[in-house]
Symmetry: C2
Subunit: 352 residues, 2 copies
């Protein structure tokens, strides 16, 4: 079997990370990398600032260079967070008969907020015999899939708390701005009102994914987004928050079934949580039979986690029946330490 | 769609527990229950010591009564731990064109120790258009599937520790005897030598399942089984261990790849661990990128966990492509709070 062939669309932090990860793996090759602006035309090793013996030093190219009929088994699409923005790109890839794994948060369950686009993607994927998956660390694993996996041990469930307490300190300037680090409470409220502060993207998707798996329908899903105001000055590598200003965002969601909360999601993200005695971690707390009281501490860092999830789910996506798929349709995620080709069904391979 | 139809084969602790769980669920009916001896002919509610309005009070019957062509969508087989002992029963069910979910530990990955029987089951299942899954809490979730799911967030892995520290105190007399509670160290060593002490069944299966998913081949898997000798008198409801005698079994396994341990499994089980300051819990510790440091404490209790896993995996097994399947072939496990029929693909249903 030929090596698995991959095109990466978007050479930002996520796409570059996936490129680095893939170059250390066996049985899988990067055959194209797409970006815009100054990176186009540069060799990929130059952009990554590293070299990988035995890997081809392909050039970063345009969409026209690398989205061509069946030139890869899968395209890793790392350009957007929202389904609406990713849609045209997904359509183009699918019409060129390649599978898609995307880190776009809303694509983890696009039916939640874009049911018509989700239907269209599903239809297009089926017509072209390929699959489309959205995944990442969250949504994609920590606050939804891991929760569901633990419910597998439960006969019955009264209430679920899915909590992720994480540090924003490892992230760069863009994230500091997106999350409002250092701004005043008034600025935060204004940004929330005019939509310029997004906070975490993915709660409606994680909630809907869990509801479909558990077989429940929410009366409603409510979301909250509040500033984490710091009492002390906090300084992170790419952002700082003076006492009294915003050091992070507390995101919450509540899924109510038959008038009673079934799932609570709780996701405070801030810079330098250790400075104020906050222990970061991923928590799954299930009040059921049996009770579950799971913690992974410190939390899985979002960047590397999303990179790994997208790459590790490549075989499951290639092997899947054609259509739009989600993490509850596919076999369990896991790392791949051996040859990627051993994970692929012969009849599902595109580049024969 | 008609309700999902289930036959339970083996009305011991596991089978009875599955019956109780199923009777509280929607869209799924027990249409047969098989046992031997005095239970045969008795109404199921009498055997369970409970009543369930709206559920049929079927009688416990024989194999001949309930293993008939396609009378159920799935048979829950809860009679054995070992593939060799379960084989004839699985063959009979499959030839009667019904899917199988079994709690037999070795059936979670029968290729590990009975590759020829595994091939035969796979062949028979394919010929008859049905699927066969072995699952439970361990093997099936805690020490293998949960570990794999967490590796999904990892780019690379140096070492994995899969640890389950559990209490045997909730278990009955049979388990106390199987695990040698209260015997002397000499008796333990003798029982280990002559095979009368089994300890935990499932390490070769969990190891092989993880190896297949990760894409590695072990040079060797070594197993250890040592007595946990108590310093103090311990008393559990169904067993006791005087100071100096055996209060439990410490099971270990090591999976070596290219001369270096990749996976360590560590599973001490004992009565009254709290009495000696041992905190029970399920642990996944991954030295990789990123590091994972997960604990679920106290541990998921084995009985209810196995019952829930077998029942919750019914839809995935019915929906699976025909053949012998494992937990890494199927979509993720999860609880089902709604109608079981919503989880079943129309074309996979046997009792139309």
């Amino acid at each position: 079997m030929k090596n698995v062939k991959v095109v990466i669309w978007g050479m930002g932090a996520m796409g570059s990370g996936m490129a680095r990860m893939l170059m250390k793996k066996t049985g899988i090759d990067i055959v194209g990398a797409i970006d815009i602006g100054a990176k186009v035309g540069k060799p990929i090793f130059e952009v990554l600032g590293e070299e990988y013996p035995n890997n081809e030093n392909i050039k970063i190219g345009t969409v026209e260079d690398y989205i061509k009929p069946a030139i890869a088994d899968v395209v890793l699409l790392c350009t957007d967070s929202f389904t609406e923005k990713a849609f045209d790109k997904i359509k183009l890839i699918v019409e060129n008969k390649m599978n898609v794994v995307t880190s776009a948060e809303e694509m983890s369950y696009p039916k939640a907020q874009s049911p018509e686009l989700a239907d269209e993607i599903d239809q297009l994927a089926k017509e072209n015999g390929v699959s489309v998956l959205g995944t990442g660390i969250n949504p994609g694993l920590i606050m939804d899939v891991l929760v569901l996996v633990m419910t597998g041990a439960c006969e019955d469930i009264n209430h679920i708390t899915s909590r992720r307490v994480n540090s924003l300190s490892p992230f760069g300037k863009a994230v500091m701005e997106e999350q409002g680090i250092g701004i005043s409470v008034e600025e935060f409220e204004q940004g929330k009102k005019d939509g310029s502060l997004a906070g975490h993207v993915g709660f409606p998707e994680s909630m809907s994914l869990m509801a479909e798996a558990l077989g429940v329908k929410f009366d409603e899903i409510t979301q909250g987004m509040d500033p984490i105001v710091t009492d002390v000055d906090r300084v992170a590598p790419y952002g700082e928050a003076k006492a009294g200003s915003v050091a992070g965002v507390s995101m919450t969601a509540s899924g109510v079934v038959n008038g009673k909360e079934l799932i609570k999601m709780d996701h405070p993200q801030q810079i330098e949580p250790e400075q104020v005695g906050v222990n970061t971690g991923d928590y799954v707390i299930i009040d059921g039979n049996p009770k579950i009281n799971l913690v992974n501490s410190p939390e899985v860092e979002g960047g590397v986690g999303t990179i790994a999830m997208c790459v590790n789910m490549i075989p499951q996506t290639i092997n899947a029946r054609p259509g739009l798929v989600t993490m509850i349709d596919l076999p369990i995620p896991h790392a791949i330490l051996g040859d990627f080709r051993d994970q692929i069904h012969e009849d599902a391979k595109i580049v024969k």
